[in-house]
Amino acid sequence: MTTPLLDVRGLTVRYGGVVALDGVDLEVGAGSLVGLIGPNGAGKTTFIDAVTGFARAAGTVAFEGRSLDTLSPHARARAGLARTFQGGALFEDLSVEDQLRVAAERPGVRDLLTDACKPWRRVRRNERVEQPLELLGLDHCRSTPARELPHGTRRLVGIARALAAAPRLVLLDEPAAGLDPADRARLGDHLRAIVAHGASVLLVDHDVDLVFSVCDVVYVLDFGAVIVHGPPGAVRIHPALVEAYLGTAVGEEP
């Protein structure tokens, strides 16, 4: 058996006395699309925060066989782990293209000195920026400032920015929230295209139909713990899933 791309073992997050995540094990194989669903407050966003270094967590996170546990968020991003945020968290002042450049460039001190010497620089075409723009059909709004974008486009720009970092794995936090049905359908196509381009995806979303239709493996989280996981066909009909979302049916035998 090959090592999975992302290998999470016993991930536990406590906020004060509240256990937000309780010993979660999760794997994402290379080239796969993994879904993570669960009712509100199940710990889905906390899981992304913990994996990407934004929440302090116990347990281990290994990426491409290497431990990420001591790395800060930006170092994890540089290791090939990209994410989106629920609200989009776009850089409101920057144009769509510049947003993506930020993720693609990551300047150092050397760049600072060369930048200072080039006030009239021509902005060079960057393939890492062009590819996601083309893939997600954002070419038409590349010079629009983020604050002027419509909601659906903002979601896509958030994903495009994550892709511009040329990640091995993208963690998407509710990309379908607030999208209309047509946009949702298109999002499914986009996700398949992303995987076809070589990145893996961990998809967190409330749209259970979307998750079941595109993912290879689905994990169900409830009260901070994985209650069931497996291929969508098996998970969809699992009684634990129904119970997590609807509660135990009235009159049912315990």
Partner: protein
């Protein structure tokens, strides 16, 4: 003790305004200073000096007002001013980013200082008859003769603290203010009016500030700038109190005052202690360290700011513009008379310094109140490099700027752990520490002998400012300054348009998202502080050449506050804003032009700028340049 008591009472007011509106009001002591001037003038002449330009200068109240009449009148004036300031400025800004609120209060600070200048002229407080309000009979205390008013002032501070503590703990008023401070929407839901509590607390705080400075005027020296800057120790004390505890604020305020006199005694007793500004510097070093070790001190408010920071338009044309402007300025130097030449030189140097503000505060959103401190470090270091290491121009200036960069990075490494207002206060404390511990340290500054700045020479030609008769200021020095400004502006334009600037703006917009995109947020902030300190350092060395004699007062905190104010007004997120800030600065091109139009017209410059700044913070946060860019886009 007298100084400690006034700091303590001011700190109480700072805590009050923070509780009521989440604002650290840097104009708090300045307002008290103005009312104290008004009080003593009223006592002497029976006329009340009004605070607004456009109104009559003064109105007659009664012929010979008693202390009581004058006090009631002036406290009412203070209360009205406080309420007015809250309603017109800080209530509209309650959702604005910390930067807008800081600069609005800086605008008021400058306005009050300028107002006293306008109403009392150059004589300042010497125009006043300051008669003791409190009984100043000398009494015997622990073997020393101490005037009684010190004790009375202390008693006033303690009583006020007690009353506020009780009121905020046990009355509905205190509870309601706390509720509105914790969560404005929640307070409205349960039927409280944040406006009423805001007005009441601001009026109360302003009365405290006025009372403190009226009572302390015989003890502390009353002067427009110095008294206004009592806000620095007061904010420090309020900070240690987490802008929440009246008791702690008073205790720390008193402690700062006592530490200052205690260290003074120590220095007299122990000759081995270095002859530096320990009594001012040490308390701030302690505060700086507690802030930086303890992390954020300010309690969080219920809602994050919803108004955004000033826009940063692509400065594509600024690069061309600065060449044109530079060319015009050089021709001006060659044909115009001495007054104009000096104005151009001062504007040019100020513009270089303003660029440092654009980088760190405009591009990365980190409020730094220490640019002149970095400028001073570079200036003093340059003189040492020139005199002791034999560095010639421009290598001495570059070496000085390199030292400033190092100090900037050293300050930034701990300081970037905190944000917003915390950072503003941390850099303010750092500026005081640098001013007191470094500029007054004879080993570094070289004492009196080290203060003479050797004139710069290029290829054996003297390009210093000093020249005989009408040749002063020498045009060649102005040209050097303009070349430096053009180079620095082009560099800043390059940074903004390159990958570095995009990363900086990303950090300014959203630190979490920037980190998720792989940007090292701490590294980006430190690099901006470094670049900013370098530019400030270059500006500082030019300023040193212009002054010819170095003095710590050229690099005082007030200069930093004024610089931030003018840069914000002009457009803090655009390199072109720095150029405009240079033009508008006192002593610069605008001053000369105003005086040419009508002799003395420039007297109104600072007061107008202060008001314009307040208006900018409330109405057009993009500044003049940013607003113009916006109009052009439409």
């Amino acid at each position: 003790m007298g100084g400690g008591s006034v700091v303590a009472i001011l700190a109480l007011g700072v805590v009050l305004t923070y509780k009521a509106s989440g604002t650290v009001n840097f104009a708090h002591a300045a307002l008290g200073m103005y009312v104290a001037f008004a009080f003593y003038e009223l006592r002497a002449t029976g006329e009340l000096v009004l605070p607004l330009l456009g109104l009559p200068d003064r109105v007659a109240i009664v012929d010979r007002p008693t202390v009581f009449t004058a006090m009631v009148t002036c406290l009412a004036l203070a209360a009205a001013l406080g309420a007015l300031i809250y309603g017109l400025v800080f209530r509209p800004l309650r959702r604005a980013p910390a930067l807008a609120r800081v600069v609005a209060s800086l605008g008021l600070l400058l306005y009050f200082i300028a107002l006293i200048d306008l109403r009392f002229g150059a004589r300042g407080a010497t125009a006043l008859v300051i008669r003791n309000v409190l009984d100043a009979t000398v009494v015997d205390f622990a073997g020393a003769s101490v005037p009684l008013d010190r004790f009375l002032l202390l008693a006033v501070a303690l009583v006020l603290t007690g009353v506020l503590w009780l009121a905020y703990r046990y009355t509905r008023f205190g509870l309601a203010t706390r509720a509105t401070a914790e969560h404005e929407e929640g307070a409205i839901q349960i039927g409280l009016s944040p406006d009423a509590y805001g007005v009441a607390n601001w009026a109360l705080a302003s009365m405290l500030a006025a009372l403190a400075i009226i009572l302390a005027a015989p003890v502390v020296r009353l002067d427009p700038a110095g008294t206004s800057l009592l806000i620095v120790p007061a904010v420090a004390a309020a900070l240690v109190a987490r802008f929440n505890s009246f008791v702690v604020a008073t205790a720390v305020g008193l402690a700062i005052g006592m530490a200052q006199s205690e260290i003074l005694n120590l220095q007299a007793d122990h000759a081995w202690l270095p002859e530096i500004g320990l009594q001012q510097g040490v308390p701030f070093l302690v505060i700086l360290l507690t802030l930086l070790v303890g992390g954020s001190r300010l309690p969080h408010r219920g809602r994050p700011p919803t108004r955004s920071l000033p826009e940063s338009p692509d400065p594509r044309w600024t690069g061309v513009g600065v060449l044109v402007v530079g060319g015009i300025a050089v021709s001006g130097l060659l044909v115009l008379d001495g007054d104009w030449r000096l104005g151009i030189i001062i504007s040019t140097i100020t513009a270089v310094l303003a660029l440092s503000v654009v980088v760190v505060t405009g591009f990365v959103g980190q409020i730094s109140l220490a640019p002149y401190a970095f400028a001073g470090v570079a200036a003093f270091a340059m003189v040492r490099f020139a005199n002791d290491a034999g560095f010639g121009f421009p290598f001495d200036a570059l070496a000085g700027a390199a030292v400033a960069t190092t100090v900037g990075v050293l300050v930034a490494i701990p300081a970037v752990r905190v944000r917003g207002l915390d950072l503003a206060i941390a850099t303010l404390a750092a500026a005081v520490v640098i001013e007191e511990l470094i500029f007054k340290w004879t080993w570094f500054t070289g004492g009196a002998a080290g203060s003479r700045v050797p004139p710069p020479e290029l290829f054996g030609i003297d390009v210093g400012i000093a020249a005989r008769g009408t040749d002063y200021p020498r045009a060649a020095f102005g040209i050097v300054c303009i070349v430096v400004l053009v180079v620095c502006t082009l560099a800043v334009v390059g940074l903004r348009r390159g990958a570095t600037g995009r990363a900086w703006l990303a950090v300014r917009a959203d630190e979490r998202a920037a980190a998720a995109a792989g940007i090292n947020v701490v590294g980006a902030k430190i690099s901006a502080f470094g670049v900013s300190a370098f530019l400030a350092g270059i500006g500082g060395t030019l300023l040193a050449y212009e002054r010819q004699i170095l003095s710590p007062s050229s690099f005082a905190v007030l200069a930093s506050l004024t610089l931030l104010a003018f840069t914000y007004l002009s457009g803090i997120a655009a390199p072109a804003g720095a150029l405009l800030a240079g033009v508008l600065a006192s002593g610069g091109i605008l001053t000369v032009a105003l005086d040419r139009i009508d002799d003395g017209a420039s007297r109104y410059q600072l007061a107008t700028a202060g008001l314009a700044l307040v208006a900018a913070a409330v109405l057009f946060p993009n500044g003049i340049v940013g607003s113009l860019a916006r109009i052009r886009r439409r």
